[in-house]
Structures are given as structure tokens and as C-alpha cells.
Subunit: 450 residues, 2 copies
Amino acid sequence: MNPSTSALLTDLYELTMAQAYLEQQMNQPAVFEFFVRRLPPHRNFLVAAGLEQVLDYLSTLHFSQEELAWLDQSEQFRPPLIEYLRTLRFTGDVEAMPEGTIFFPHEPILRIIAPLPQAQLVESRVMNLLNFQSMVASKAIRSVLVAGGKPLIDFGLRRAHGAEAGLLAARASYLAGFAGTATVLAGMAYGIPLYGTMAHSFVQAHQDEGLAFEHFATIQPDNAILLIDTYNTEAAADKVVALAQRLHTKGITLKGVRLDSGDLADHARNVRQILDGGGLSRVEIFASGNLDEYRLRDLIQTQAPIDSFAVGTAMTTSSDAPSLDCAYKLQEYAGRPCRKRSEGKATWPGRKQVFRSYTESGHLDYDIITTDDDQQSGHPLLQPVMKAGRRLAASPPLADVRRRVVAQLGQLPQSLGTLETAPTYDVRISMALQSLAQAVDRVSTTKGVT
Amino acid sequence: MNPSTSALLTDLYELTMAQAYLEQQMNQPAVFEFFVRRLPPHRNFLVAAGLEQVLDYLSTLHFSQEELAWLDQSEQFRPPLIEYLRTLRFTGDVEAMPEGTIFFPHEPILRIIAPLPQAQLVESRVMNLLNFQSMVASKAIRSVLVAGGKPLIDFGLRRAHGAEAGLLAARASYLAGFAGTATVLAGMAYGIPLYGTMAHSFVQAHQDEGLAFEHFATIQPDNAILLIDTYNTEAAADKVVALAQRLHTKGITLKGVRLDSGDLADHARNVRQILDGGGLSRVEIFASGNLDEYRLRDLIQTQAPIDSFAVGTAMTTSSDAPSLDCAYKLQEYAGRPCRKRSEGKATWPGRKQVFRSYTESGHLDYDIITTDDDQQSGHPLLQPVMKAGRRLAASPPLADVRRRVVAQLGQLPQSLGTLETAPTYDVRISMALQSLAQAVDRVSTTKGVT
């Protein structure tokens, strides 16, 4: 069983709804949009990610024989649904913001137009994919913002929420500007550069720390980064100096040392001094250990002599905001715009487009959310990516997505590009969209739904 | 590609370490233990979960041809490692606390004894599995503690961190006492009862809310729970009353209504009154919408007339503590106990056992962590579950695990069974273990590692 590809990775009510729609012959085109209702605390903007996996999911969606047999014997559904699912393929259209696009609350980042049962069925997994990667990219970019260009590596697999989270967090953080990951599968799956050092267990399995260093450097002569905090960090740095001379005679040059505990700034200063004093000024210092964007900022601001950083759990889990307040909502059915008016959860109706305007200096100025048929000035952010179930273009290389992110960071108003909460970015609702909402509400009221 | 079963779902350094161990012929038995360093904020105890998936992983671990080919062409490793991985199977022993066991910081919940390269290689995924499910079970049980026996349903898939997180959160919360889940795949994979209602989109896709209710009830006559908050909750409840009489003539009895927004207690009282006034006192009220254990406790304490609850994002992501401060550490190699002494991250050395003592009334009294060869009074919590790579027994049915959890909740000291932070539970370190740590430190010092 592969949860990442199973069509049964969905909520029960999606199947119940599909059955009801089919029996009511409600299979006209439905328009669903995915958006975030509000920014998580401490976020000034979000980064769209996960579209690639959504398109993979939609273009390969099918129910296996085993899944159909299980549904059948579960006795929760009637034969017409099972027959419908047997041949189900996604035949809809998708428009979306490209991955790596900076976005704001209420802006749809993805729209699905498909026969109602199809568009409904995919809800759970589409949300699951977009929520997670957008959340991680939006968290990771905060570390990128404060790292001053120093390389950041994803070390988060062990405390990511399961297998797919580990894999996709590597992807989302790389997309947002990390230099690479320790997760090997992300190297194979996405070509993301892999980084790693050594484990405490390697040191412990040797009876002598210095011997462990020597063995490791001899076996990894091209990439020897020695972990020096197992017992006493500064004492270990002294051993590194002594070892470096012996290694030099073998033609081996140490690449770096890694700190993983204690006061990283203090240790980094002490270790830098020891290394420099021993003629090892080119040996780099790599730091890890419960880092997040705030600790990273402190280390950078106090000019701790650290050359690169691993960021793990805090980034992979988006620890201060481990979900987005996101929704995937029906905005139009059979040509009729509609909206939900639940308290605190009302949506803007109809198919929408987002236009982004820039200042003369090229910075983001404001966005306008409007109806899809309304032309506004600015750059339209939603683009067609799938027609009738087929992708319109091959997926862009992740390197391109990274460049898009870097370019946008350069366009970010200075107030948004910090860890502090900034004044809200200007997102306007067009007159056309406001009028549509009023018209929809009038019709609803006439029909008696309130 | 299935991230849940890929042997490449590991950190790069695990492969680097394995290569180094092999080239140093360091393949003696190694003992690693998994434990949590400290309780997350607001937790008084933890619930062990994920062992089943760890044993699955260990007993099926292998590198595919495709993975080996990729490793080979990556040019990061030498041929002897690739050859070793080609035939690698896990041949070690595992001892563990049964799933559902309540545990505390520093207590190992799993021990792996295997040739060093094997025991090292599995680190990342073992941690990834135990961290996630134990974290979710330990969060979910907090809702169980305050729900007063009312059914709780997992609705968290859409904001779980990827596919496996959605699936395994359903499992971990069911294990901890939830009644079921909306995640269909968890029904197929683990036999967990499935629950679901209807979507806002179903209401919106109809031009008339009352008609949507009627269609849904007619199509789901045995399980009609109507979602009544799309436009105006109380107005929708009036429609439900009117509808119930028409349905009655068709022999259909409504099962319930669902609230999903606004002040749930207020709406529940209003809706209960409307339903009761309409002769629908047996129609249940089901509530969802950003619930966590605190909101749940408030609703229960104020006696809001709600019969069952869905808990989603807060539980699935363990929103207030989305990771455990857990570790998987080498405690013995080739018969020699060892430990890490990094600042704030020191471990207790050697193979350990945990003995649990109970009061005369059958409540948890204190635990003693000691060396594996030391006999203490109380019940030993770590039990053998795998020998030479083979499971010693079939996995217990989840129903048994649930019963174990319920039994332990009855044994929990009252102070621990609340949402407030309680005085720390008494976990003692035996004299034998303290002596071993001192002996290990003496040897290390002699050998010059500090």
C-alpha cells in the first residue's frame, strides 16, 4: 500500500458526496478554489508550493482493483458509485499560481474546474498537498531571509510527520532557497543536493574520539566534516588541530567541523580561535541543533563565526504554525456562482483572478482579487496548467522555481521581508467581485437559503 | 516511488556511517535506544505508538535495484557499500514497550540490537515513525481525557503533513481512544471505523438548502447527518424540522445535524431547542471546527448539548507541540557501554529496562530506569518483539491496544490526567545505572575523550 498514491487517501464524505451527486445527476462543471483564510502568526506572506504533486495526483488518479473490492465489501456504498470509480480519471482543468509565487490571504492559488463528483473527490488530497508544502516553504523562507546568504541544509526528516512529510519538506525548503537536504530520497526523487556529516554514534562506537575523527576523515577524504560535541567541544577542536597535521601528510584536507549542542555562538568563537591558531583557517564551522529563524538571526547578527547551518524540526514541522488556515471551496456550479456565508468562514464567489501591481522600483505594491472575466492592470498570477486532465507543460525544473523565489525576494517590500509582523500587504477586492458577491447573496435570499 | 517503504528515506550520514563502519570492519553488535528527552509543554505523560510500523519497516527493509543504481551513479559511495546494501536485510533484535504504554522522559521505549551498520542505517526512519505516532497519540489522549466519554472522530487528513501523516494520525488517535476517522484509507489499512457527514459544497451546489438536505437524506437514509451552518445555522435547523416530517412519511429518520462554525455552544443550545421543539429530540448534534482539547473541555464543562465531536488539525499536527524531543542513541557497542555527554543532551549508558510500580489502589506510583541485568520490583515495560529480524508474535489487534490505553487511563494518578501541568511523575534512576554511568565516564576520561 502506498498512501501517497492511493485514491482512498480521502475523507469518507468525499465518496458520500460523489455518490449523492451521481444519483442526483449533478455532474455539471464545478469550480473549486484553494486559498488561505488568514496568515499564521508571525508570517507576512506565504509561498505557494505543492502544485507539482497536485498535478501528479490528478493525472494519475485511479482506484485499484483492491481498493474497489474493499469499498464494495464495506457495504457503505451502492454499486453505481463503485462502477463510476472503476473507470474514474480526472478530466478537469486546473489554473494555478506557479510554485514559488508569493501569495496572500483570500487569493486563490489553485482552481479546479471539473464535473462536480470529480472536483469534490479530490478535495482532501489537494488540500493535504498544498497546505503542507506551502506551509513549509513559507516557514523555510524565513530562515533564508535572515541567513545572509549562508547555506542552509534541511536536517528535519527524523521529526517530520511521517515519510512523505520528510520527503516533501526537503523539496519545499529547497524550493524556498535552502541549499540542500540530508534526506537521500529527495536526492533521488527531485535531484536536490545532499549533505551530511557524521553521527555521535560514530564517535561513541570508537573508544577514542580522536581515532574516530581520523577514521572518518580517512574514509571520507573529500567531505570530512567532524562532529565535535560528543564529549567536550573545545577539547575535540584541539584534537582536530593535531589530527589535521597527520592527515596533511596523507594528502587529506579536513572540510569542516560541526557543532550540535550548547551555546553555538560561544563554541563557534572558541573553536574558530583554536582552528585558526592551528593553521586551519579554511576549515569551516557547520552548526545544527534546534535551530530556527530566530536563533539563526541571533547567530548572524552577533557575527558568530559559523559558515553554514542545518535547520531541522522547526522548519519541517513549521513548529510555530504547523498548519495553514486553508480551504478548498465550491465557487461556481453549472455556471452559477455561489459562496459559503458561515460565520468567520465566508468566501468570495465565482471564478477569480489575482492581478499583482509593482512599484516603479519593481517592488510588490498591491494585489487585486477580481472575477475571472474582469481585466485589471497588473500581472495575472493564475495560469492554466492542466486541460481536460492533461498537463499543459512539463514541470519546470526546481532550479527555475528557486530562481523565481529569489527574484521575488528582491521584489518584496522591506517591511514584509523581516521576522517581525508587518502592516498587512494591500490586497484589494475589485468592484466586479464585490458586485458579484452581492448578486449571489440576493439570489440566495430570494431562494430562501438564509 | 513509495516514500513509506523506500530504504532511501534516510539521512545521508546514515549511509556515510555505514560505509565507514564497513571499511573499519566495525560490525559488532550495537545497542541503540529510542527515548524522549523531556515532555513537551502541557504534557504530563506520553503514549507509545508506532512500534507496529517500525517492525514492518525493519522486517521488510531492502534496497531496490533502482535505488542501488541511483546510489551507484551518485558517485558518493564506493562499491563495497553498494554490494553490502544489495543483500542487506535487518537481522537484529528489538525490545520495546507495547503500543499504548504510557511512558515518561528518559525511559527507552524501543531498543535495537544489531550489527552496527544495520542499527545505524535504520535510525532516521525509526525516529520518524516513533516520533510522529507517539506525538499524535499523546495529543489525542488529551481530548479523550476531557470528552467525558463522548465519541471523538479524526477529521485531520486535509491539514496533516502529507499522506502518511494523515493515515497514521488516524491510527494513533484511534489507538488513544478516538472512535474513528474520516480517512478512508485508514479503514482499509487498519479496520478503523469510518465516519463522515456532508460538505458545504453539497449545500452550495443546490440552489436551495432545504432541497440539498432532502436529497442527502434520501440518498443516505441510514446515516443522514446534515451540515447546517452554510448560511444561517438556526434557519437551517428550522428547515430540518420541516423536512423531518416529510421524510418520516418515507420511512427515513434523520440521524443528526452538524455545526462547523461560530459559537458552537450557543448554536448547539439554539439548535437543540429547535429540534426538541419539532419533536426531534433523538436527532443528535455533531460539532466540528478548529476543536482542540481546551475548546472541547469548555464545551463539556458548560454542558453544551453536543453528542459527538470531530477533532482535526490541532490533533493531527499536535499543534501546540508538533514534535517530541526524542533521540535514538548508541548505548553499547561490542559489549562496551557508552554514552554521549553533549551539553543538555547527555544520555544514560548501556542496555536499560524500566520497572513500573503501582500503588495499592492500582495507580501508577513510580518508575525505575535501570540496567538490563538489574532486577527491580515492579513490572518490566520493555519486552522482546523481534529476534534475528523476525517478529516474535503477530501484531496485536488495535482493539487490544485501545483496551490497554483505557486500562492505563484508569491507573493514571489524578493529577496527571488533566490538561494542567502536573508535578513531575516520579521516575528514578537506579543505583546500578548511576554506577554504570560513572564507570563509563571514568573509562572515557582515562582514554582521553574529554
